[in-house]
Assembly symmetry: C2
Homo-oligomer: 178 residues x 2
DNA sequence: TATGTCATGTAACTGGTTACATGATTGC
DNA sequence: GCAATCATGTAACCAGTTACATGACATA
């Protein structure tokens, strides 16, 4: 049960779309995978160095003012394909919001209501972001677009579900007082 | 940014409902918080020991054949209330499924379709579990019930969203071939 | 007496975060 | 000349997992 770092997949994946600096990689991940993935510099740079050492990634200082671009090698692409087929190991669930609500009686209904309303706001903002993303991807179709739309759809359905849930939850709390 | 262990909240929370052994605590967490929380023995026992050392939890060998029950003390309850109001620090998102689908073009449409169908099956099973849970909680109302129903509702809305998303995603992939 | 469940723990590991340090480049 | 952004890295820390070890009790 090796539990190999998933960061490798994200890094190779990012570079498979387009060569980039480590910094740009981080940006790209936050901007376009942000709603389902996260990487910190503390992971990206060491991973990049390790990938370079094993020839899965190549450093090309081409046309750069500062920093170095990384591009994926043929070996790197093969490794990426291989790792993508690995069974998905999802992080064990740890939803701090639901943990608090489960013990909501100790927290009090008012605090719970606030927590839920915060989710509503967040979900509304998220829906705007997704609409934006969706239009960007649709405007510039490429072989990846369908898959990107699928991940965006996941975000949208999730956000809508949160709105519906929040509504139901607030109703349960409202009924309580009467 | 202390990043204190969330395990403490789960353990104190569990014991606030009912005194239990460490083993039973783990069971209770998997069974009733399972869809949004997880704890391993490797976390539970050390946490229990630390809580006992600071007087937030008490060991009572009452009426036990083997092992010792733990019960929460007044200090423990105070600490729990305090920790419940802490800002929620959610784990950074790392959804292995969506990461794979984002690079779905490299994986191939067939593999992606399989991944999505697995989600559908999972979601159907989850909905059954939630229905079961819901009827158990409704059958035996207590001051916690409303809050427990809220967390169950979150699971239900999430699962339904996954079904809708899966449907949309499969449609996108189907359109592709034509 | 063997098997399964209840029960408690520890040791090693590691993925990932945070915080810090440093410097180049760009634009004002 | 200054501030903001681009860019690269490292070191310390830690939460949490995995694997291992051990033993009591019930029951078939």
């Amino acid at each position: 049960m090796s539990r190999r770092s998933q960061t490798e997949i994200a890094v190779l994946g990012g570079l498979s779309v387009e060569p980039m600096t480590g910094y740009a990689l981080r940006q790209a991940i936050t901007e376009t995978l942000g709603h389902f993935w996260h990487e910190s510099f503390g992971q990206i740079y060491p991973t990049l160095a390790a990938l370079e050492a094993s020839g899965l990634v190549r450093r090309t200082s081409a046309g750069q003012t500062s920093g170095s671009q990384f591009e994926i090698t043929a070996d790197g692409l093969a490794r990426l394909r291989e790792r993508l087929t690995e069974p998905i190991e999802s992080a064990p669930p740890r939803n701090g919001l639901l943990l608090r609500l489960f013990f909501g009686r100790l927290l009090g209904a008012d605090v719970c209501r606030n927590l839920i309303e915060a989710v509503q706001e967040r979900a509304h903002l998220d829906l705007e972001t997704f609409a934006q993303l969706r239009s960007e991807v649709s405007a510039d179709p490429d072989p990846h677009s369908d898959y990107w739309l699928i991940t965006i759809a996941a975000g949208e359905h999730g956000a809508r579900a949160q709105l519906e849930w929040a509504h139901e939850a607030l109703e349960i709390l409202a009924r309580q007082r009467n």
